[in-house]
């Protein structure tokens, strides 16, 4: 399940809850990735829009993929404003063994960046500015552009 929260994440609580969840399930490796908002370019926060229906489908595919490897994937993400030096994203994998866990967390986080329907904005003086230059077109983008040569 994708966990979505307004504002910054309570990383400790999420980490501990997931750790406890995995405790008796005989996983040998538990990896967490925490994304923290960096102070850059004078921003006071980042802000996020999330499109939940497609996010949930995208995540379900990853859950199924993980299950085939006898692994489990979890993620939590913020909606709205997240101040600098706080966290907007936690992803986790549980696997029987380390190699698969290391492989899975990397692939998952990279695909998350490329394809999860979440939009990022810099917040400066209370204004939200779309972080276009740091954003990636989702795989298959451009379908409706008929006049492709002029783009």
């Amino acid at each position: 399940m994708v966990e979505l929260y307004p504002g910054e994440l309570e990383v400790e609580k999420i980490f501990n809850r997931w750790l406890k969840w995995g405790e008796d399930k005989n996983y040998g490796a538990y990896i967490t990735f925490v994304g923290i908002v960096r102070a850059e370019d004078g921003i006071e926060a980042l802000s996020f829009d999330v499109y939940e229906p497609i996010l949930k489908k995208w995540f379900k595919e990853w859950e199924d993929r993980a299950k085939k490897e006898r692994c489990v994937i979890k993620m939590a993400h913020s909606k709205g404003n997240v101040p600098i030096h706080t966290s907007s994203y936690v992803a986790a994998v549980f696997c029987p063994h380390r190699k698969k866990a290391l492989e899975l967390i990397e692939k998952f986080v990279e695909d998350f960046k490329a394809n999860a329907p979440i939009w990022k904005y810099d917040v400066k003086n209370g204004e939200r500015i779309y972080a276009k230059e740091r954003s990636q077109p989702i795989e298959g983008s451009g379908l409706l552009a008929l006049d492709k040569t002029s783009q």
């Binding site: 999330v50 329907p117 979440i118 983008s141 379908l143 409706l144 006049d147 492709k148």
Partner: protein
């Protein structure tokens, strides 16, 4: 009638169009310069399923979503 939604930073209200397939939606959207400039970078979903081909027939009430470049995390 189908509904076209613009997600994330595309600051547009939904459009309602008569269209039998995605190609017709494309033709319609290309007429609006403010929308057109986003199209080369947008992924497309029909009823919340990302599609990768224009050969998609549409039926009454279908919902088309445009997804601009993403950056979660």
């Amino acid at each position: 009638m189908v509904k076209v939604e613009f997600l994330g930073p595309i600051a547009r209200s939904p459009l309602y169009l008569e269209a039998k397939n995605l190609k017709e939606v494309a033709q319609e959207l290309n007429k609006d310069p403010q929308i057109k400039k986003w199209l080369s970078e947008c992924a497309v979903a029909v009823n919340d399923e990302i599609v990768k081909s224009l050969d998609v027939e549409l039926k009454e009430g279908d919902r088309i979503s445009l997804l601009p470049p993403v950056c979660g995390g």
